[in-house]
């Protein structure tokens, strides 16, 4: 004998509340009876959310690994060789540019910044590191340290790592050529070019370069870091430097970050993938609920014929969208978080709570938008059709 559904009538006196409960009951009952179908959709949404969150986490980590050194720099303005197109690695400036920049109105301090990649030897392995040479007391180094202090002597270094690479602690040592660098300070999120990054005094940097070159060559600068005077506008000071000094291009830090090579490419590339994934989630959800609605059209006609309002039949659909898409999104987020945690060494990325919540909400919203086709179909159900053969 088939079991008869038990409605919670005895506990609910209010008619509206009872109707709402009934709608929830119908929505849940249908999910339970067609668990396979709804599980497949939940799985598909979950996998798509997994991909979305994975992309966002990796893109965020990569971008920070590329731009961190510029983003967290103590410099308000950065001065480049005008032919470098704001690419720090292509920029080469004569040493005297620092003095020229220091004389410009609005400049409180100017400091050299030179950048090069070296192969360093650690206790475990050889690793490529980016070395910044500059004035540790000036705008050549990260604005804030998370541990330790600024370098005060030759051979001392601030370390900052991309989470995709090896990390170093205070007092760790690496060998570059025949020179040893000792980590005396650590800065968060100040890596460059997705590589372990060391900030050393300019003299130390020059020695590393000259040893590699095998001769006492003149070591040029890559950039000049500028701290602007109190109350001065960084953009105006940058424009003034560009005007006054031949062969240079100065920009404020935000512009410099946006122009770091590779960062824009990553943002664009992943943006395309986000777009495609959001569209796929919307289409898949919309298609599923539309087919489901078409298949139960007869039942909906019957419900309307026995007195159910349009809202009574729409609400279960909306509830199902929220439940299924919500479960898929949350499940995908949990799996993504677990996978990224497990693969921390490979991807170095973690999900931020804000990114996760925003993505889950966006997917939920898109799910509701996608269900508009199904809802339109439900709203078009005419109870009179119950009186015709085709109706039920």
């Amino acid at each position: 004998m088939a079991s008869r559904p038990v409605y919670p009538e005895s506990k609910v006196d209010d008619t509206t509340s009872r109707r709402k409960l009934l709608q929830v009951f119908i929505a849940l009952k249908e999910i339970r009876r067609s668990l396979g179908r709804f599980t497949l959709l939940t799985g598909a949404v979950g996998l798509l959310v997994l991909l979305l969150l994975f992309f966002q986490a990796v893109a965020g980590t990569l971008t920070l690994g590329i731009t961190g050194a510029v983003e967290s720099s103590a410099a308000d303005v950065l001065v480049y060789d005008e032919r470098a197109r704001l690419n720090p690695q292509a920029s080469i400036l004569p040493v005297q540019t620092v003095e020229q920049v220091a004389t410009v109105d609005g400049v409180a301090a100017a400091a050299p910044i030179s950048i090069s990649v070296f192969t360093a030897t650690t206790a475990e392995e050889d690793v490529d590191v980016t070395v910044f040479g500059g004035d540790p007391t000036g705008p050549s180094v990260p604005k804030e340290l998370s541990a330790g202090r600024l370098p005060q002597a030759e051979g001392e270094a601030i370390f900052s790592g991309s989470s995709l690479d090896s990390t170093f602690e205070l007092s760790d040592q690496i060998t570059v050529g025949t020179d040893e660098l000792t980590v005396v300070g650590v800065a968060d999120d100040a890596a460059f070019n997705v590589a372990p990054t060391f900030y050393v005094p300019f003299d130390t940097y020059a020695r590393l370069v000259q040893e590699r070159a095998g001769s006492p060559i003149d070591v040029p600068l890559s950039l000049v870091g500028v701290a602007v005077s109190e109350g001065a506008d960084a953009q105006q000071v940058a424009a003034r430097i560009t005007d006054r000094i031949d062969g240079v291009q100065a920009v404020d830090r935000a512009t410099a970050v946006a122009e770091v090579p590779g960062a824009g490419q990553i943002t664009q590339s992943f943006g395309i993938l986000y777009l495609l994934l959001f569209v796929v989630v919307t289409i898949v959800t919309g298609v599923f609920f539309l087919i489901l609605t078409v298949q139960k059209a007869d039942a909906l006609v019957l419900l309307r014929a026995v007195g159910a309002s349009r809202f009574d039949v729409v609400r279960p659909v909306l509830l199902q969208v929220v439940i299924i898409v919500g479960l898929g999104a949350v499940g995908g987020a949990l799996v993504a978080s677990g996978l990224l945690r497990a693969a921390q060494d490979t991807f170095g990325a973690q999900l931020s709570l804000s990114t996760t919540v925003t993505t889950v909400l966006a997917i939920l919203l898109l799910g509701l938008v996608a269900s508009l086709g199904a809802i339109r179909r439900v709203l078009k159900v005419d109870p009179v059709q119950a009186t015709t053969k085709a109706g039920i």
């Binding site: 598909a44 997994l50 991909l51 690695q89 292509a90 490529d128 599923f288 490979t346």
Partner: protein, 370 residues
């Protein structure tokens, strides 16, 4: 089987929703595949240009060009190994390039391009012999980007070193477009613009070895054994040793795998719904003698046809989509990748359609009579 095809022809609207979803998934797969190939090819052009040769690095460089330093004496030792035909030097440095016409006009920096400048000695099937006398071989990507042709003058680096384009070759992008100079010119140009990037005198970053008999088999091992401090490898092995390329490739392959899983679920979902609709029809068909395998065959054919149509539309849409993407994005659509995606999609759709097997097996022909 005939019924399945008839249904597709007579009621195509019924299959449009899943077709649209599959088409979008194909677009996603093709774009992901484009990124996978684009990222790899854009970073390995110079190595791929040395096919059928060996590249020799310092043995502590992990086959990384920028880490490696090899002295002239070591190069002579390599040349003395049996089976080695010729040995050339190969070095690289990052720089900028622009047509000489814009170099004098600082405001027009749109035509200045980041490049990798190679110094080399040996021609390959792709790269002509070093021109010398400040002549440069330029890859086609750079030529397009800054609008130059053979005979034009290009300026390199912040010191605006002038070189003349002697020949434009195919795409040799190695993280950035490439310029190829003779080793002597390379040292002069890089020494003037960025002396910090130069290896010491009589030192190169890597060697290019052309086998005497054209056969690289066993030669790398002989070089490794007979010459101390070097590691010889084929271009494929060098590309395989690039951490960035490998981690990017494995990430994108994983993502493509998950996308195929989504495709599987979408197809399975659609056919689960379709089968539910057709339970009555299938009962009748079974009652008049149709076997479960016949019904499954019909569903499978529909899945294959839908996936093929989605593939055709999806690939066409992807080509159009990729064509409007910014040129600097690393997306390359290769026929081999498209082929793999096509096979993968059809097989996935086929497997997805078979998810209905349990449902079809449970259909009782007696249901046909109520």
């Amino acid at each position: 089987m005939r019924i399945a095809l008839q249904e597709l022809l007579r009621q195509p609207g019924r299959f449009v929703p899943v077709g649209v979803a599959l088409t979008l998934l194909v677009v996603l797969l093709v774009v992901l595949g484009g990124f996978l190939d684009g990222l790899e090819l854009n970073q390995t052009g110079a190595y791929r240009a040395h096919d059928n040769r060996l590249l020799v690095f310092a043995d502590d460089a992990d086959l990384q060009l920028q880490r490696s330093r090899i002295t002239g004496d070591t190069a002579q030792d390599v040349e003395a190994v049996a089976g080695v035909g010729t040995v050339g030097w190969l070095s690289q440095a990052a720089s900028t390039a622009s047509p000489a016409s814009t170099a004098a006009e600082p405001g027009e920096d749109a035509q200045i391009q980041d490049v990798i400048v190679f110094g080399y000695d040996q021609s390959t099937d792709t790269i002509p012999a070093p021109p010398g006398d400040r002549g440069a071989v330029v890859d086609a990507v750079l030529a397009d980007l800054i609008g130059i042709q053979s005979g034009d003058t290009v300026v390199l680096g912040p010191s605006a070193e002038e070189v003349t384009v002697s020949q434009i070759v195919g795409d040799l992008t190695q993280g950035a477009p490439t310029v190829w100079l003779s080793t002597a010119d390379w040292r002069a140009v890089i020494g003037a613009s960025d002396p910090t990037a130069l290896p010491r005198e009589q030192t190169t970053q890597a060697l290019v070895v052309t086998p005497a008999d054209g056969n690289t088999s066993g030669l790398a091992e002989r070089i490794d054994t007979q010459v101390e401090g070097v590691s010889a490898a084929t271009p494929e092995q060098v590309i395989g040793a690039l951490d960035v390329v490998q981690s990017q490739s494995s990430t994108f392959r994983g993502i493509i795998g998950v996308t195929f899983a989504v495709t599987l679920l979408v197809v399975a979902l659609f056919f689960a719904l379709i089968t539910l609709e057709r339970v009555g029809l299938y009962s009748v068909l079974k009652a008049i003698g149709a076997r479960t395998s016949d019904l499954l065959l019909g569903i499978s054919i529909q899945a294959v046809v839908i996936s093929v149509v989605a593939l055709l539309v999806g690939i066409a849409a992807s080509l159009a989509f990729v064509a409007v993407l910014p040129a600097d994005l690393p997306v390359r659509l290769l026929p081999s990748r498209l082929g793999l995606i096509a096979v993968g999609t059809v097989v996935t759709a086929l497997i997805g359609s078979l998810f209905t097997l349990r449902r079809i097996l449970s259909i009782d022909p007696a249901e046909a009579i109520g």
